[in-house]
Structure formats: C-alpha cells, structure tokens
Symmetry: D2
Subunit: 331 residues, 4 copies
C-alpha cells in the first residue's frame, strides 16, 4: 500500500451519498478516484455539473471498463438498480460497497416484502457482509461485497445492539429526526426550500423501510418514527426502552465502544452539530427507574452513508480505519 493507491470507482456519483463518497475519496490519502458514473450526466465533466466538486473526471456509463479496473467500487445507485452491474463487478474480482438496501438483509424475503421487489441476486446476498463497521469489522476485512447500513439504522443500532445483545432493553421506540439530505437530490415541491424551511413533520409512521432492517439486526421488535428536520445534514434518534437493569445498561453503553475512534458515549446530551460533517456517532443515556432514554447523533451522509462506506473500504484494504475520514466537526 506504500506506493500504490487503491483504485476506486463510484456508481451513481450524482446523488448526495455518491457525491459525498466522491468528495471523501478525492482527498483520501491512500485512494485514487478512477471512474465515476451518472446516467444523467454521462459524458460531462464532474466539475461542470457540480461546481462544488472541482474534479476533472468525466462521468462514464455504469458498464464502462474503467470500473472493472478498480480495486473497489462504491454503488450509490437506488435499490435494485445496481444489482446487475454489482454482480458483474464481483464476478470480475472487484470488491464492492453497496450503499443501497439490496444486500442488507439476511432474510431475503423480508427485503422483498419491505421494498416490494424481487431480490436481484439472492446468491450474492448470502456472501454479503452487513457493513456496520464497529460490529462486523472482522467479516468486513475479507468481504467481497459489503452492504452499507441504512442511515437511521446506524444511529439506532450503534447504541442499541450492545444493549439488546446483553438482554437489557425491551419495548424499544426510536423517534428519529433526519436532515433533508436524507431524502436525496429531489425535484419535488414537497422538498422545496419553502416547503421545508421553518417546518417539521413526521412521515412513514409505522411504515418506514428502515424499521424491518432495525428489527432484523436487533433481533427485536421496535417502533420507529422518522421526522424531517429543516437542516441539511444529521440524524438524531431518541430511543425509549424498558431497562431491565438500568445500572448494567449504563455500564454497557459506556464501555461498548471505549476504544473506537468514531463512536463515543457522552455524559452530556449530544447535539447534531457536534457530529455533522464527521464520521462519528455520539450517544448519551438517561434513566428513570426502569425507563431508559438514549439520544444518538450521526451525520446521515457520512457515518450514515458515505463515511461508513469509506470506513468499510479502509477495513477491507487494511488501512488505518480513520484514513480520510473527518472526526472534528466544523463551526
């Protein structure tokens, strides 16, 4: 790794998650951006389409040979859209980090019910590793296909998985609030500035697709309500649960990620701005008798998407896990 950089491709680099991946890779000390695709912008230079990304590369099509020459490809294509090309890349020995939901579920039938589709490649699903870095690090190291977790899911799983594994939490309710970038790049009046500015709403009550993902990974029922914040980046999840042993639960939360660079327990309640534009997850807990409340924050586009995807790449290629990933939050 001394002299050669990891060759990286990005499928769907025009969406927010793809663009953030592009941005991270462009300044990554050990990676080199080799190919980026966008159906909408094929043939145009990235810098001409996105003045925020002064990248000299030209968008190519998803079947361009440059992708097969990569060491790793990030797919930020929508659900099922990337299946065929991901399959071919894996067959060509290119490792893949998929930011879509296609390979996140152990149980293909849950995936199919949740997303209302037929799974594109159930064979590949069996070998995909769920890329929650701090939890599945060992499997990620050797994975050929990593399924990057959902954004809301990451904010809930990181604090709740250790509790659930220890049998310390029941009747879980996750009330989550996300910035508007979570909805992706949209030409839709419902996501216009005037529709969201100075407003706030719940959506997908009892029906959001991240709930089944949380359920499968926690091995537990959970009520999940997402909300839309009038800000660009960040998820804050307020998680309510019955704490069978509050003291033990607090201990688990304080120690579970003690040596992790990106995940931290905090005595004080965390604010979104402390993790926005970073790859960190910070959470705090309060208990009142047998009732527990955890507040957990991440940047939905970094630890909730592109950042965790690059962290997965770092693990897959034996790099320092923090390489190219921001830890300090800007003003």
């Amino acid at each position: 790794m001394k002299n050669t950089k990891i060759k990286v491709g990005i499928l769907g680099a025009n969406g927010y998650a793809g663009a953030e991946t592009l941005r991270l890779i462009a300044s990554h000390p050990f990676a080199e951006l080799c190919a980026v695709t966008s159906r909408a912008h094929e043939g145009k230079r990235v810098c001409d389409v996105f003045p925020a990304l002064p990248c000299p590369l030209t968008f190519v099509s998803a079947d361009d040979n440059a992708l097969k020459a990569c060491d790793v490809v990030f797919s930020a294509l929508p659900q099922t859209a990337g299946a065929a090309v991901i399959g071919k890349l894996i067959d060509s020995n290119v490792r893949v980090v998929d930011l879509s939901a296609d390979y996140r579920f152990d149980d293909v039938s849950v995936y199919e019910r949740t997303y209302g589709v037929t799974h594109p490649r159930p064979d590949l699903n069996a070998q995909a590793v769920y890329g929650l870095c701090e939890v599945n690090r060992d499997k990620i190291k050797t994975a050929r296909l990593v399924a990057n977790p959902g954004c809301y899911v990451t904010s809930v799983l990181l604090p709740m998985l250790p509790l659930c594994k220890a049998g310390l939490a029941d009747n879980i309710i996750a009330d989550s609030k996300s910035g508007a970038s979570g909805a992706g790049r949209k030409s839709d009046e419902a996501y216009s500035f005037c529709a969201l500015d100075e407003s706030f709403k719940a959506y997908g009550v009892f029906t959001h697709r991240h709930a089944p993902e949380m359920r499968e990974k926690l091995g537990k029922s959970i009520i999940f309500t997402p909300h839309l914040l009038p800000l660009k980046r960040g998820i804050l999840s307020t998680v309510y649960f019955d704490a069978t042993d509050a003291a033990a639960a607090e201990r688990v939360l304080q120690t579970a990620y003690a040596n992790e660079p990106f995940v931290a327990y905090s005595q004080s309640l965390p604010e979104l701005s402390s993790v926005a534009h970073t790859n960190r997850c910070v959470f705090s807990a309060r208990f009142d008798g047998s009732k527990g409340i955890i507040v957990s924050v991440i940047d939905n586009l970094l630890k909730g998407a592109a950042g965790q995807a690059v962290q997965n790449m770092n693990i897959m290629f034996g790099l320092n896990e923090t390489a190219g990933l921001p830890i300090y939050a800007p003003v």
Copy 2:
C-alpha cells in the same frame, strides 16, 4: 361591546410571548391596548425598542395606574415575578390571564416542587381556572384569573385528554420538538444563531417542568422529552401510547373537537408550517395493533401562549372566540 372596546394591559411585553400578545391585541377588532410594561425598557416607546412593533405606546412600570384601569391584563412575566402585581390587579377587579406557570397547578405542592419556589399566592391559586380553552370553556367565561397552559402541554393535552378521559391510552411517551422562540428572548451563546442553526438536540430529559403539568391534567404518568428545532416557531409532539381499543381511540380523536374552530383532527400527518402563525392545533393518529401514535402541531407562541391567552380573553368577555386570531397559515 358594540361601542366600547375591551381595555387591555400587558405585563412583560418585551418577551416573545408578551410581544406576540401585544401584536394580537393591536389588531384585535374588539380590544384596545392601554398599557404595556417592561422593566428593561420603561419610559421608552415600544416602536423605538422594537421596530417590528410600530406601536406609539410607552412602556410603563408594572405598578402604573393605567393597568388598574384595564378590563383585563395579560401577564407575561416569568414565574413568581408577576404574583404580587397580579394579586393587586385581581383585588382591583381587573381580570387577569397569566402566561406563567404560577397558577396552572391544582396541587400547589407539585408546583412548588417542580419550580423550586414557594407559591406566591396560594389563596388565588384556588380560584384560578386552567385556560385550556376547548376543555374549560365554561369555567373560563366567569374566571377572574386564568392560568394559560404551557406550550408543550397544550400540544399534548388537546389530543390526549379525550383519550385519557375515555380510558383509552396508557404508557404515554411524548417526544416533543419546539422552535427556538420557546426559550424566550436570550443573550446566551447556547441560543446564538451559530449554535442552533443546522443543529438539533434533546434537553431536559426526564426533568422538564412541563411533565408534571401534563401529569396533573391527564391524571396519568407520562414520559416527556423536549427537543430544540432550528426554526423560530412551532411545536410538534409525537405521542406514543398503548391503545386499549384502537378503533375507539380513533373515533374519540375524530369527534372530540368536531365543532372547534381552532382544533382539528386530520387524516394526513400535519406539518408545523400548516399551523405556524395561527392559533390552531392539528393532530393525526396512526395505529398498529395496540400501539398508537399521535402527531400534534401548534404554534408555540400562539396556541401555545399568546394566541390561547387572547382566546381566553375572547371567552371571558363573551366575544366570538375567533376574534383577532389567525386561522390561515402564511406561506
């Protein structure tokens, strides 16, 4: 009421709730602003201190005789600060709507524990009416002293009171989110633009003073978590509960306020911007088996403070309850 307008005074008109009361009264068709007080700005013209309020009146002190000549005085002074002057006004036969928490609790000891003070006038407390307009309308009509409900409390009580009275809700959790004006006019870096913009946080977890107010009025235990939104106005409460009979609960919610001009059940999930700058409360409900979720929205400064206070005045003086109160929300 034909020829003479109600004479109105406002104590503490410099805070946000006081300033909004001033604004509403200034354009109220049947009320006349006669006296406004502000310790900080005594002797200055309102319009010179607040360019947004081109009002020719001059701020006077809280013991100015002009207040005793009023038909009704709104007190927007902080907890306990208004007690003495309110007492004197009541003794002088001036009716009072108090926007502070001083007279909200039936049980004075709960008030004293919650606010860490000795109640200033327990004798007056006994005759104060809790000014949740749609619920206590009859008592408000003849009340001499009305205790205007807390903002978070209003957003939760309006949908939950009918359910709790009907014995249809248990294990209630209210996850509430408020705009920054809820914190009042502040010279505090923690409420500076750069601290709140693009951020979001929970606060007062398990300790907020509106929780005991909710508990007393609902007659039920409740978990309440407030959060701070990066917007000026509005509260959205997401309320989780066990629905002993979901169908019955839905029926109660749909009918409880069927004829109310300011409170509405909505099939679709409500957004803050639909009620911001209005005196409305809109809520919607979703059920999944025995689990119920209500989403309720108000403008924290109007239905949650100044608007409900003026609605109380309208009731107290036999006016059309909607007089001078906005129902349509701006873009």
Copy 3:
C-alpha cells in the same frame, strides 16, 4: 359597505401570491371570498389541497360564472396566461387587480421586449393603473384594472421615486436580496431545500425583468442585481446612488411618506424580520459626501404582492386602506 361585503375572486390561488391573497381576504373584515381558481386543483376543496388554508371553498375553473359575480378579482396567473379571462371580467364590469406583469408598463413595446411575448390586450393596457398605492392612490380609486407592481420594484421605487422626481439621485445601483418564495411554488432541484439552505447567490445579473420596470417608473437608468436568500419571505434592497444634494435627499426621504401607515423612514437600518408578514416598507439612508446608500425592506409576498394587491382593493372600494392588512411583525 356597512351591510354587504365586497365579493372577491382569485385566479391562480394555488401559487404563493395567490395563496397569500386568499389568506388575507379570508380574514378581511369587509371582503368575502366567493371564488378561487386553480387549473391544477380544479374540483378539490382548498383545505384538502392546502392544510394551511382551512377554507371550505372548492377550486373552480377560470371561466366559472362565480367570477363574473364578483366585485373584484385578483389575478395571480403567470404573465399572459390571465389576459383573456381578465379581459372578459373587465368587459363584465368586474374590477381586476392583476399581480402579473402584463399591464405594468406604459410602453407596451418595452413589456414585449422584456417578457418576449406579444401583449395580450394592448387596448386594456392603456386604461390600466400602476398600483403603487402610495404614489398612484388617486388613479387607483377609480381604476377598473390595476397592475400590481413587481416585488423587487416596490422595494426600490418607494424610496427612489421621491428622490428621482426631485432630481436628487443619479447613477443608481440596486443590489437586492429576496427570500425563496419570490421564485414561486416550484418542483425544481435548484429550489430544493438542500440547494438553497446555507447558500446564497446572485442571478439574472444585467438581465432580470424587473430592471426595465424600475427604469420606466423612475425615468432613469438603473443597474439591478437580484440575489436569493436562504429564507422564505422578504426583500432587502441596498441602493447606491450619487446624491447631488445629500441634505436635500435626506429631507425628501424623511418627509415623503410621513403620513403613510405602511411606509416609513427609519433612523436605524431596517432588518427584514421587522417587516416580514406585514404590508410595510421601511427604509433608511446613509450619506458620505456625494454618495448615498438606502436600505429598503418589504415582505415580497405582502407589500411586494398580495398585501399591496389588497391595499389596492381597499383603495378601489373606498375602505380604510389598512383594513385586513398586518402592520405589526411577528417574532
């Protein structure tokens, strides 16, 4: 006017300016909303399409007879789109306030060059009155067709017209900044929340269509640069000019609108929030030798559109000019 209210219709009530007109008329003490049109929502109830507007009326088509039964119709249709129906209404003795640019120009050829269209009704143009209320009040009283001024234009003309008429300003540059509602209701990624939040830009440099409108009304050349603010409502114009006599200019500015309820000279520099949600225009001036700078603020949807339109209606029907129009700005 004692017993009967003015019957009002609104064409294009689904756009922002139309919706704000609807909101103002719905709470106007002397007007009654009789008909609202929207091609997109014809047949649907207003309250079902716009939860913020709990109005029981149903959207009808633009040729519905209910419009002809109105005393006055506001047209918030786009340029040229309303020409035919406005013509028929005028022919049916319905007075019209047109919020589009169709009838704003004295010189039809300038209109046609600026908007790249053929004028729909040059005959009507001759009798249209330019509805800058404080300036053209007398003509507006008897006008059958009032052309409501452009939003940016209003913010610049109110302070600059008295100066230009007095021959006191030259080499005028207007650097204007508008809230996002100025662009109208849009399904366009360029106006999405994530595109505008935390951003700011100039647009239409040397090419914006409000420049020729300013030029014709001022009778003077002017450089005009609009910018897009990350907020919903308001325009602030910073106007630079050579002051041939600074003392005289200041005097003119201080006295020109001395008795106007909606227009005020201010010693201190005005902020947008002091006039947002009101029908006011406030401006201040600073001079340094022969260089003058005026800062002028309005709410683009009220004094810059719907508010001035209703003010025009008030003038046309002999009402108190402030009826139904907000003067105090909310927190």
Copy 4:
C-alpha cells in the same frame, strides 16, 4: 519535513477562527497540534468544552512555554490582545500567523484610526507580510510574521487586485454578504437564533473597518457595505465597477489565477454552497457596456480566516500548498 511534523500552537482556540484552525491542524498530514490557549477555558480539556472537537489537549495560558517550543503559532486573539505574546514569540524565533488586524496595514496610522487604538508593536509591523497567499506568496515563504487578511477583504481583493493593478476598474462598490459566524462566538441577543433566522440586514454602512484595508491594498477608493446572512458560513461579494475596457478586464480575470488550486474564475455565477467548508475563492464576471459586476464567494472561516492561515503556514514551511485544506465542498 519527511519525518518530523511542524509543531503548531494556537492562541485563542475557543473563538470560531481559532477552533477552525484547531480542526484543520488536527487533521493536517504534516502538522502536529502542541498547544492551544483560551483564557476562558484554561485548564480544561478541549473535548470537554467543545464536544465537536474531540481533542485530548488541555487549554493552557498564552504565556505557557509550550508555545515557545512550537515552530509556528496561529493567533486568533482579538485586535491588540495578542500583541505582547506575539512579540515574545517572534523574539523567541517562533513564526506567527496573526488572524487579527494588528499587522495588516502598511500604514500604521490608518490602522490606528480605523481600530481606534495605538498600535502595539509598530516595529514588528514593518516586517509583517500581508498573507494574501496567491498575491504575496514569495514574501510569505520567508516571513516571520504573517498578517492574515480580513474575510470580506479576501473576497474582494482576489478578483479586484488584478483589475486594479491593470488599471481596469474604477468607482468600485462592494456589496458583501456574510454568514453569522463572521461575528464570532457571541452571547448577545442581536445574534440569537430568533434574531437572525429568517432575517437579513445591512450594518456598518460607510463605517466598516474592512473598507480601509481594501482601500490600502487596492490603492483605490471603494464603497463597502456588509450584510448579515441567515446562514453559518460564507461570504458573497457583489462588486460593481466602471470597466474602462471590459474585454481586457474579462481577460485579466480569466487568467490571473489560472494555475491556482484555490482560486478560480467561473463562467457561471457562483453559489456560496460551492465553496462553503473549502479553502476556495470562486468568482464570475458580467459586463454591460462599461459597467462590470463581479460575484465572488469564499468560506469566511476558511479562505477568509483559518484556511488561508493554514495555507500561509504551508507556504512558510515549504509544504504542498494544498496540504490539509479542503477543496471539495460537501452537500
């Protein structure tokens, strides 16, 4: 430089510019953060005071010996406050980048008039280099004391200096708009969220202290008006001027920074979000006859403060000028 990193100290690391410098240095590949000072937080760990900055260092006092052991110290102390300690550091052979205005002026008397103070060290002023990187690169290389330019000034000088040097611009007016972080960390109601959100204003008309700095560096009179945007980061300057030769001016602008990594001419008008969180300055120009308009954008805390300061350090120590500095803007 291969094996040892540059030892860095920061004076006043608790303000916004200081905190951003800290953040940049913490992830700089060739620098090592050795000492940070804050009078308010002395003795506390950075991470305990600022959860956004998980830095294990403890704030020390400004005369701590650790600063003298540094290769370079950034001073983000207010005007005149840092003079004494900066003097001692220079005397101890520590190189200094001063983010205050103390050493920015060639003419000490202009500084003293502008800031209303007596210059703390006129002797040092003579050897200070004005740190506008792209313009003074050669002098910066060997400078012991670099005066980092003002934020507004940077946005105006970068496009206007080449024009003025070529004698191609006259009658310059800079209408600038800055995000709220430009005002610094404040406990002041005027900078509270509710005061700035959804608002906008001009301030310091004809009196702002960055105007004399622009004048000295351009060698030309200039009118400068700053405004306060409701966003955290970024400055957009709209600069009006008489173009004695528009074609020549355009050519100069297109070529002046052709090989610079951080400064770019753009055909399309730039938006703030394209440079926010980066060290870039992007500008565009439009001409109409002899009238020119330039729109220039930077991040006020990076290219306008901490970023340019680190770029200066990179130049002073012979590093790649882009080391540790962001070029791609986030979503």
